[in-house]
């Protein structure tokens, strides 16, 4: 029977922008804590303070996974640190049942001079594993980290990949009821990453998981629910797919994130698709106009479609620019067929100078393309297939 493992009710946290003030407030909080007052005044902000997390509530049962999404500084990590018990909320209540684990700082407490084997005991101890538990599992850890005879070598002689592999192997040994994941799902090279995913998959079935990531594919893959934070305030909470599309919509608003960088010699740049709403598998037609005060050649010219921040498809058009170096270009583009999952995509144009060292044009989200049709799951490119 699924039981509730995490209960978060109206949790808020305030932070201070100025360091000097922050330290002084820290001293005041310390004083009021010692005389037994509440930690900070509930609803008032002192000068220079702001809400890093504001009024967040949710519940999570065993076997469920919650994804936290939001831009940098939206309060995701702060919320995670409150759940972890590192810092106290300024308002609200957090209830955690059972053993808590966090895949946040891999290899925490490693001393580079000591050997891998010695560091396993230290790291495991920091994470809350007893020496007896480690003794039982040490062979499994060494085996998983693929360290072999290097295990008795000082950690400072390890490659960075070996260090995170060892850290990952130790951290995922812990049997927890609640698991916090901050971006870390897999480490190392491609072969090792698939092992990591396998291990994480086994872990998250047994516990309640809270996962912070910017990778929407990963979130949609492992999360049941999502919470979208913006400036600490919850914007949307619900099924992962719904929240993620809401988040993508908010983050692809051309008015907000359209950015165009032009070289001083560029006098005109237009990129306007005739149609911005297309269906899965259709072509996208548009014209790019570039006027320059002097003839130019390009080393690399790219068209790309972005899903939030991540490019999902690109096409090169260097050749067409360089066929005839001139000041004014008017290029008619037929892009596609676009076999992309339903969603909004930002069109980006990049033209680099001949030696590729300077930018002639770098335009992000110069148009938003709405693709309809397949409610894709996972990767953006949805191949056509027949049976």
């Amino acid at each position: 029977m699924p039981d509730t493992l995490v209960k978060v009710e109206g949790v808020s946290k305030k932070f201070c922008r100025s360091l000097k003030r922050s330290l002084w407030y820290g001293l005041q909080d310390l004083g009021s804590e010692i005389v037994g007052h509440r930690h900070g005044d509930m609803d008032s902000l002192r000068p220079d303070e702001f809400w890093a997390v504001r009024n967040v509530s949710f519940e999570l049962k065993r076997g469920e996974c919650l994804g936290l999404v939001g831009r940098n500084g939206a309060g995701k990590t702060t919320l995670l640190r409150m759940l972890n018990g590192l810092i106290k909320p300024d308002a609200g209540r957090i209830e955690m049942h059972g053993r808590l684990g966090a895949l946040i700082a891999l290899g925490a407490g490693f001393n580079p001079i000591l050997t891998g084997r010695e560091n396993i005991y230290i790291n495991a101890s920091v994470l809350g594993l007893s020496k007896r538990e480690v003794n039982e599992k040490i062979d499994e850890i060494i085996d998983f980290a693929e360290l072999g005879e290097f295990i008795d070598t000082p950690v400072q002689n390890y490659s960075s990949g070996m260090q995170v592999r060892l850290g990952f192997a130790v951290a995922t040994t812990l049997q927890t009821d609640v698991l916090l994941l901050d971006e870390v799902l897999a480490v190392g090279d491609v072969a090792f990453r698939s092992k990591c995913f396998d291990r994480i998959g086994k872990l998250i079935n047994r516990c309640a998981v809270i996962f912070v990531s910017h990778d929407q594919t990963q979130i949609s893959r492992i999360c049941d629910f999502c919470l979208y934070l913006r400036d600490g305030v919850p914007q949307a909470f619900g099924q992962a797919y719904d929240v993620l599309s809401e988040y993508s919509k908010k983050n692809l608003k051309p008015a907000v994130s359209r950015s165009v960088v032009l070289h001083p010699t560029v006098t005109k740049f237009v990129c306007k698709p005739a149609v911005t709403h297309i269906h899965w598998g259709e072509m996208l037609h548009f014209v790019i106009e570039v006027d320059c005060s002097e003839d130019f050649k390009s080393g690399l010219a790219l068209l790309a479609l972005h899903d939030s921040e991540i490019p999902v498809a690109q096409a090169e058009f260097t050749q067409i620019l360089n066929n005839s170096p001139k000041k004014n270009h008017e290029i008619s583009v037929k892009l596609g067929p676009l076999h992309l999952k339903a969603g909004d995509y930002g069109l980006a144009v990049t033209i680099l100078s001949e030696n590729k060292k300077s930018t002639i044009i770098h335009a992000i989200n110069c148009a938003i393309i709405h693709v309809k049709g397949r409610n894709g799951y996972g990767v953006c490119y949805q191949m056509p297939c027949s049976f």
Binding site: L30, G36, G85, K88, D90, A91, A105, N111, L114, E118
Partner: protein, 283 residues
């Protein structure tokens, strides 16, 4: 599943539920013991493994500071009063005892500052850091204890039965040092000023403690020596070693009792302070 641990975090001060707080303190101390041991072993091993002389450094450092004072006295640069035992022995044991005290006093703040990256990312019993510091101080103290026994043999003094009590006197030094160190830790983590003021202040206090100077017979200095709570700590430890009469036994015991109370108080404050400090560490 019914015995599953439930953890609750709210904005309230933990002082609202003292019973729960006390239970938490001791259960964390117990569960942090192993971690403390691991951290202490890590730090001690790490310290000496990358040195050619390795563990010898644990002997070299205290010897060097004692030799400085013996030289200053023998050459007449510093004029000192009469001591009941030979001055080199007096200065040597004094510096040893004082170093034990200072290490204990510095350990809590040092441990917390050195573990900032751990503290801001992982939740582990915070007591483990303090305990790990105490373990390391004890390790160093046992080396100094052996050195002092060596010095005793060289001077040819016949120790009395009091020698058996010397470990307790060393524990008392560590106890008082840790209590003071723990009390200044919360503010010290916030403000670097504390880390600068303390060595300065302690340098001054050292000259009011029978470390390298004997206790003056009279005058203002004599009074200050007698008021200084560290005086019986250092003096009596040395007295036990050399079989000399103990000084102000009632004051000695009072200092220790106060230190125990301060240690408990410092521990409570440290626990309450930790979330606030961690918040400011990464702010």
């Amino acid at each position: 599943m019914s015995d599953r641990k439930i953890t609750i975090y709210t904005a309230d001060s933990c002082l609202f539920s003292p019973a729960l707080g006390l239970r938490g303190m001791f259960s964390d101390l117990v569960s942090g013991r192993e971690l403390a041991w691991q951290l202490a072993v890590r730090d001690i091993r790490g310290q000496y493994r990358q040195a050619f002389f390795g563990m010898l450094w644990a002997l070299i450092m205290p010897l060097a500071s004692a030799i400085t004072w013996i030289f200053l006295s023998a050459s007449g640069i510093v004029a000192l009063g009469e001591t009941t035992v030979s001055y080199p022995f007096y200065a040597f044991t004094g510096t040893m005892l004082w170093t034990i005290f200072m290490e204990a006093l510095n350990a809590p703040l040092q441990q917390v500052n050195g573990s900032r990256s751990l503290l801001t990312k992982l939740n582990f019993p915070r007591e483990a850091l303090i305990l790990s510091g105490v373990y390391q101080v004890c390790f160093n103290a046992s080396i100094k204890f052996a050195l002092m026994l060596g010095a005793l043999l060289m001077t040819g003094i016949t120790p009395g039965w009091g020698l058996m009590l010397l470990p307790f006197a060393l524990v008392a030094l560590i106890l008082v040092g840790t209590a003071i160190g723990l009390l200044i830790t919360p503010v010290g983590v916030l403000y670097g000023d504390v880390g600068r003021v303390v060595p300065m202040l302690m340098q001054f206090v050292m000259f009011l403690t029978p470390v390298v100077f004997p206790i003056p017979k009279a005058g203002l200095a004599g009074a200050l020596f007698r008021i200084n709570p560290l005086t019986p700590l250092v003096h009596n430890a040395r007295a036990l070693l050399a079989g000399l009469p103990l000084l102000a036994l009632d004051y000695y015991l009072a200092v220790m009792s106060v230190a125990v109370i301060l240690l408990l108080l410092g521990w409570i404050i440290y626990r309450l302070a930790m979330p606030i400090l961690i918040e400011r560490m990464s702010a």
